[in-house]
């Protein structure tokens, strides 16, 4: 489903002409299978977010190639990446990333709007998903009027709106209390089992990681270990 072949990434920081090159990821080889929940763990600065950003197309690898759903996306143009994201990927963010001037309904329907779906179909689909995540009664509320848990539900509804085969989540429970965290993880498991949605989660949290079928550990830009569910060592990469 997602395949990374010898992916390297480095940042250039500092003034132009006097940049300093900071390598972030080194020769990452990774294969996420369809219907899998994969958690990527590691300390702050280990390159977890950079890895997810590469899979999302927000940044491009310095070298190596990335294949998603069999398509080489390494050199897609910005416009093609936008279309690809819309049709293949769903996103969950730590701080939800809802547009403050739009209601929960409008935020959730955004992927449908971008895809050009008609109003009546949109309304039906949005209400269906808001109900599924238990937030339908707050459809007309603005993000500022919702709790963190409610906002994350809107964000989840938005990420699932176009029924993407892959959902990329960066610390999805990072801003949630334990109740909301439990509910979100249960939802992720249900979606994975019922729809076969593939999840790539980035987390610090053991409980979140325990939801995954596979746990990958990043250290200083190197993918170190792959653990099977339950924490037993499945495969040592280095």
């Amino acid at each position: 489903m997602i395949q990374l072949n010898r992916v390297n990434h480095q940042f250039a920081i500092g003034k132009k002409g006097k940049e300093r090159i900071v390598p972030v990821l080194h020769d990452i080889d990774l294969h996420v299978k369809q219907g899998e929940i994969v958690a990527i763990v590691g300390r702050s600065g280990s390159g977890k977010s950079t890895l997810l950003n590469l899979m999302s197309g927000y940044i491009r690898p310095t070298s190596g190639e990335i294949l998603v759903n069999g398509q080489n996306v390494t050199k897609l143009s910005e416009g093609d990446w936008a279309n690809f994201r819309l049709s293949h990927l769903g996103f969950m963010f730590q701080s939800f990333q809802l547009i403050p001037s739009m209601t929960a309904f409008e935020n959730a329907e955004l992927p449908l709007v971008l895809q050009g779906v008609g109003i009546s179909k949109r309304k039906q689909r949005v209400m269906e998903l808001l109900e599924q995540v238990g937030i339908a009664e707050y459809a007309g509320h603005y993000p500022g009027e919702l709790s963190g848990g409610q906002q994350q539900r809107v964000s989840v509804a938005r990420s699932l709106m176009l029924d993407p085969p892959i959902v990329l989540a960066d610390e999805p429970t990072g801003s949630l209390d334990s109740d909301n965290e439990r509910q979100l993880l249960a939802l992720i498991r249900t979606l994975n089992e019922e729809r076969g949605t593939t999840f790539v989660l980035i987390t610090h949290d053991d409980q979140v990681a325990s939801t995954a079928h596979r746990i990958l550990k990043l250290k200083d830009g190197h993918l170190l270990h792959a653990y099977a569910k339950g924490g037993s060592l499945a495969h040592e990469i280095q």
């Binding site: 950003n53 940044i59 936008a82 963010f93 730590q94």
Partner: protein, 443 residues
């Protein structure tokens, strides 16, 4: 992304900072209004001056005064000359106005008609040339005539007196009493009965009146067969025909026409026709010659005024640029979120271009309405001010400002174009917003 949704986004965004939007639209409206009003002065003055120069004449007509003869003296236009003029390329018609050379006593239902003159015209040619009537039609039969617009005006009437409309006479009969003196001095007369079928157009100048009766060639023939002279010329009692010249205008003598006009099919053919007939020795004059010079001067004037007006719109564009740049900066996070979930850069660009073009259109619409109001106010107010302070009277139909629809359309297009240009850079910047930076590197 559908247009309706883009439009909804733009509307939502525009509502966020109403004061800023109002000020930007105001600046654009002022620029557009300034452009239209300034150019309208050029249009208004041109119309007033051209109208004054043209008067009742048609821009497609060429007046023929005569023809140069071999001994370099002007000769009058004869029948063969008319035949030649009709054959010139792009000539639609050749018209003439020949006055009947006697005062015909005309009555209607026994009452005298105050007709100043009786004029013979060629109605077939007039029909092609576009003889303008205020009501009725041109004569089709032999004894049908057209009367002047002011034919019912009484001889001693004052300006402003109520005159019954001449069109009420359409369908009525006129009795025309033609007379001729015999060589022994006795007067003989014959009464012709003709039917009024049309009334000429109202003269364009207030001081002009048209009380003539226009007769066709059929009626003329009847008059001439009675008088036995061309154009119904009367013999002078006691004066020999050879002395008065009557003997030279018998029915078999060569005819001379007056008031000859050549009508071109299009205004831009006037010059070529005038050139061709001038080479043949015809002495002519066309209003098109005068208008060309006048129009050229006004064209330069209008371009100059329009250029100054466009500068005002360009100044307004700085406001649009500023507003759009601020809008992009303020909405960087929203744009980042949209890009993060799959918004195409083109959709984002279109949203911002749509917003700047809506500011431009809104400003142009308000500016155009204001410009029309100013134009009307100037046309009403300025003559009053001139009369009040300078003791000068401005002619009634003088226009200081005139906004033809195409001027308003051009000004709106300029405003829209300038708005799109000013919105282009901010819109491009919006598409380049870095997703990670916009999301505060959250993901």
């Amino acid at each position: 992304m559908k247009f309706n949704d883009q439009f909804r986004f733009v509307r939502q965004n525009m509502k966020k900072n109403k004061t800023r939007l109002f000020m930007t639209v105001l600046a654009t409206a002022m620029g557009c209004s300034f452009l239209i009003v300034l150019a309208s002065v050029g249009f208004g003055l041109q119309k007033s001056i051209v109208d004054k120069a043209v008067g009742d004449r048609m821009v497609t007509s060429i007046e023929i005064y005569g023809i140069q003869s071999d001994n370099d003296e002007g000769r009058q236009i004869g029948t063969s000359n008319l035949d030649y003029l009709r054959t010139v390329d792009h000539v639609k018609a050749v018209t003439y106005r020949n006055y009947i050379q006697q005062s015909i006593m005309i009555t209607l239902d026994g009452t005298d008609v105050n007709s100043s003159s009786t004029i013979n015209v060629d109605f077939d040619a007039e029909n092609k040339a576009g003889f303008k009537l205020s009501s009725g039609r041109l004569p089709a039969g032999e004894n049908e005539v057209v009367v002047g617009y002011n034919v019912r005006q009484l001889p001693n009437s004052q300006p402003g007196d109520e005159v019954p409309p001449a069109k009420d006479w359409i369908g009525k009969s006129l009795e025309m009493k033609v007379s001729q003196f015999a060589e022994d001095g006795t007067e003989q007369s014959k009464t012709l009965s003709v039917k009024i079928v049309g009334v000429t157009e109202k003269p364009t100048r207030e001081w002009k009146t048209d009380t003539a009766v226009y007769i066709g060639n059929g009626t003329l023939k009847q008059i001439e067969s009675f008088t036995q002279t061309q154009w119904g010329a009367q013999r002078v009692p006691g004066v020999k025909d050879s002395e008065s010249g009557i003997d030279k205008i018998g029915l078999d003598d060569p005819r001379h026409y007056s008031g000859v006009q050549v009508i071109a099919d299009k205004a831009n053919h006037v010059k070529a026709i005038a050139e061709e007939i001038r080479l043949k020795g015809y002495i002519s004059h066309s209003i098109a010659d005068e208008l060309k010079q006048i129009n050229l001067v006004f064209l330069i004037m209008k371009i100059g005024l329009g250029f100054i007006g466009t500068i005002a719109v360009l100044i307004a564009s700085i406001g649009i640029f500023n507003t759009m740049t601020m809008a992009v900066t303020e909405r960087a996070q929203d744009i980042g979120i949209m890009k993060a979930i799959g918004a195409h850069p083109n959709s984002i660009r279109r949203i911002f271009l749509l917003e700047s073009s809506m500011i431009g259109l809104l400003g142009a619409a308000i500016g155009t309405i204001v410009a029309y109001i100013i134009s009307v106010a100037v046309n009403i107010g300025l003559p009053i001010i001139i009369r009040g302070f300078m003791d000068e009277k401005v002619p009634d139909d003088f226009r200081f400002s005139l906004i033809p629809p195409y001027l308003a359309i051009i000004a709106c297009l300029i405003s829209l174009g300038v708005a799109l240009l000013s919105g282009y850079r901010p819109a491009k910047r919006a598409t380049r917003i870095d997703v990670l930076r916009a999301l505060r590197r959250d993901m």
